[in-house]
């Protein structure tokens, strides 16, 4: 790994200062929270901001408030370790704590933040390589090159959405608040992500994520299942977030099944949801939903594991997520 390039590091104390700094510095600047994603990327020269603006001294971004009834608001700079351990989150949205616990390692969770994880750069075996390696393949579409080596005929970049929290947030209907010098806006998590490995966020670079609102679960249940090679370090190469609300008669009233790690954006599997809604949990409904996930998962050869096998894993991982939700009834 190369060393970090030289850059200016700025540490605003208020949100207003932070967004003003970003506006002043323009395109050559980036926000940084824990830096566990940005700094390795800078070492590999994937991103080369001249100015890096830290959001770690913004007090408002460190709070966790709310409760199970009202929903929870989590500041964007809350550390992943805190997300794992916070009793309020554990009580009201256990799935978020559980998904956060699968991210990387304890050391990186002590540095990384929930906001950083939700905005994580997309990943690819042709992109997450150092400068000299990328030069060896004449670079790639996402950075400095003209060809997507994963799908050379493609006009689009296929780098993979690799956050564990993103599919969970989409499944839970989380709302994300952004601030810029232009004002504030709140977006549904599902609306934030774009199915393009380069422009993977519907967000302008000067917008700063400040907080994440988790609506109350109100009887909904959710689980997250992660496929990775090892029990630590690894990014998901398939993530299944499943949320259901079961009516008093035992039928499934609402369902959201979201796949992560198989495309540039999280994939909501509406066919799986359709297979579940209005039905009671049964082996047949679960199999039908799992089959829909299998059909919808179309991973390419740019992460760990063989892509065909990764696709096949959508079925048992979705099945297991749903069986767990069924058995929690």
């Amino acid at each position: 790994m190369m060393r970090l390039p030289k850059f200016t590091y700025r540490v605003p104390k208020t949100i207003a200062d932070a967004v003003q700094m970003k506006a002043d510095c323009g395109d050559e600047s980036m926000f940084v929270a824990g830096g566990t994603d940005l700094y390795p990327n800078m070492k590999r020269r994937q991103q080369t901001p001249q100015t890096v603006i830290s959001v770690m001294r913004l007090a408002e971004l460190h709070s966790i408030s709310g409760d199970a009834e009202k929903g929870i608001t989590i500041g964007a700079s809350v550390l992943l370790t805190e997300v794992c351990d916070n009793p309020t989150i554990h009580h009201s949205h256990k799935v978020v704590a559980e998904a956060a616990h699968t991210i990387s390692t304890p050391l990186l969770r002590n540095m990384g933040t929930i906001g950083g994880n939700l905005l994580l750069d997309t990943r690819c075996n042709y992109y997450d390589q150092n400068y000299e390696w990328r030069k060896g393949i004449n670079f790639c579409l996402k950075k400095d090159g003209e060809v997507c080596w994963v799908a050379p005929g493609s006009a689009k970049c296929w780098a993979v959405q690799s956050s564990d929290l993103v599919p969970v947030m989409v499944a839970l209907g989380a709302q994300l608040k952004f601030v810029s010098t232009q004002g504030e806006r709140v977006v549904e998590a599902a609306e934030l992500y774009n199915d393009d490995g380069i422009n993977y966020l519907h967000k302008s670079p000067d917008e700063m994520l400040t907080e994440i609102y988790l609506p109350p679960m109100k009887g909904k249940r959710a689980v997250y299942k992660k496929l990775r090679r090892r029990g630590a370090f690894d990014f998901p190469v398939l993530g299944v977030a499943a949320m259901v609300e079961v009516a008093s008669d035992g039928t499934i009233a609402t369902a959201r099944i979201v796949l992560g790690g198989v495309a540039p954006a999280p994939i909501e599997v509406t066919d799986a949801e359709a297979a579940l809604v209005g039905q009671a949990f049964s082996q047949a409904t679960i199999e039908a939903a799992a089959e829909a996930c299998y059909i919808k998962a179309r991973p390419l050869d740019n992460t760990d594991f063989v892509m065909g096998w990764r696709k096949q894993m959508a079925r048992p991982f979705a099945r297991r997520a749903l069986v767990e939700l069924q058995s929690a009834l």
Binding site: Q129, W133, G231, F233, F305, P316
Partner: protein
Amino acid sequence: MKNGNNGKPLKVVGKPFRKVDARAKCTGQTRFADDITLPRMLYAKLLRSHVPHALIKSIDVSKALALPGVVAVITGKDLPIAYGILPVSQDEHALCIDKVRFIGDPVAAIAAIDEDTAFAAMDLIAVEYQRLKTISTIEEGLHIEEPRIHEYGDSGNVHKKVSLEFGDMDEGFAAADHIREDFFFYEGNTHLPIEQHAALAHYDADEKLTLWSSTQTPHYVHRALAKVLELAPTHVRIIATPNGGGFGGKSDPFNHEVAVAKLAMITGRPVKITLTREEVFYCHRGRHPVLMSIKTGVKKDGAITAMHFRSFLDGGAYGSYGVASTFYTGALQTVTYTVPRYKFEGARLFTNKPPCGPKRGHGTPQPRFALEVQIDKIADDLGLDPAKMRRNNLAAAHSVTANYLRLGTIGLGECIDKIVAASDWQNKFKKLPYGKGIGIACSSYLCGAGLPIYWNSMPHSGVQLRLDRQGGVCVMCGSTDIGQGSDSVLAYIVAEVLGIDPFDIRVITADTDLTPVDLGSYSSRVTLMTGNAALQAAERARELLTVAVAEKLQAPIENISFAERRVFDVENPEVGVTFAEAVVLAESKFGTIGTVGSYSPPRSPGKFKGAGVGPSPAYSYSAAIAEVDVDADTGITTVERIWIGHDIGRSINPALVMGQVEGGVYMGLGEVLMEEMVYRGNRNVVHKFPSMLEYKSPTTMEMCEVKTFLIEDPDPNGPFGAKEVGQGPLLPVMPAVVNAIYDAVGVRVDEVPATPEKVLAALRAKAQGKEGRYGPQGVPATNWPEPLKVLPPAEGGDGREMPREAVHLRD
């Protein structure tokens, strides 16, 4: 008093002392190569080829030289002399001269005032390449004659073909009740030491060169540097710094070592380089990918009548240890179970990838995997218990094998007994529920290569001992501690003989100016060879002290004993002197007390060409049982427990031995479950993921429970009877796990790593009524050379190649 065993109770040997360097390592005081800085030091970077196979048409370094802060830039023409670890493969240049052979091959070296400047200068060097067709697989290496990666070798891109035959194979197979032929593939993998290679060179005013380097083989680096730099060897000093892991990956002389030395000579300033992790992947010298066929004939009880083994090694772009690796893939099949007739054919191919070489187990894990999985299949065919079948057909201790390896003690039977009992094998094998399984495998490894890398008849290891009048003892030896504890072993053995505390001893190792030659930390040779040399030096010192103390005490020489930092009369233990007083007496009588010890292995009984690889003063033995959980929906295998027995001869330090056993199991789990050194053949043969994140190696989360049993049956050739432990315990892990997968779900994965997609593919094939197996379907048709035939010793052979007439007479 053979091997230090004199019937007296041992005070140091066999006790779990801490390592002599443990506190420095734990407190961060140890200085690794990258920790060393010198005044006015420059930093070096290597510009590496980003094309896999090409002629260099031109290199223009002028812009780089013009960059402020750049002090020197060198290219291949500055270092025209070739080198390589083996005399038969002097095929490397520090910087490529007219051709690059893989992505990562260095073409220029820059020295600058800091690393950032050196890095910036890399982009300013213009290299014009003329691309050549690439060779990226075993099959391509066999069949593509042109272009050749090297101008030497047996033919085309075949680096080496060997063929050896011990006894009449047709007769051997005719005697069998059952014959199996199986095909296996073992993917390449790499050492992954936590410390990246680093080197610092200093060329002083007296024109003497000093190189500090994280190397396992300072003596060979010394020879290579003197040759390539055209310096008198007396003007070259190599200091091997403590290694943050080696595993075989720091055993070659490396281009970065040569480059910093040359840059230091040109600039007159110290020059350091620390490789990036990506560059460590390009240094490689790791496990060869090997495609294998094995045909074995057995009697109904599993006794082997004949074995024919073939291996095809994907060697990468340079020779490295590859010729030895090739022979090793055929060497140790005969040392665990009796194999009366044996034939081996092996071929190593050049490909446009980082060179393969020696990784822990050097050339033997691949054939051991094939052999042990096939043995499991044979037991299944014959309806025999695979543990009992192995137990009943062990090679004989103190015998000579069909391929002329002289065996010493064999504790393998006890290893099997221990793990079979501890694992409750009888109640588990074939009796666990679907998805749970148990499997066994055995193995053996050398305790040091019997022959040196370059031909000579000098000792393989030397120790100098200096005793001073304050009672201080200093041990000096060329051996290199790569974390295995060789410095500690020197201290323990000398302390045992001289009756002092191991922490009283100062150990100076791996410095070619200060220490006598030891060939290096490879082939599990150090405890046995350096240990014997230390034992001899210590016993010689003890003799001098004994004579002087006996005279002083007026006691018979045979009464003088050493213990508890005292030298005394055993019949009147209160009558004696302190150890320091004993040294004073000896120094007064004899002058300065210094002794030497050295070790040369016994001559091998094999006299044929190719007999040099395989012989060892002793062989360690291991047996492992793995218990696994296989998820039949996904193919994901979890190794839950390993029971492992290791025949150590005698533990010099059981805590360090256990550590090596567990480390071997850990590395074995990585090889069998996930590790792959793979390339994208359709994308410039680029390494798929030269990073520690994406090259998957187990974390602590994947480590299983390990129950270790040490079998102590002292070997006459080992110091105090000790055998090796650094490499052997890795070997049975891979086949034991794969055999356990079969017991769990009834499918064979005849490949390493046995990744989930392979297990699942085999399960699906089985569900469709096909063979429940994943693995190669055969090996390429090959023109093998006429075998060199040697009659096995059991049939009256003398270890020499049979004359041609005799061969015909036998026909």
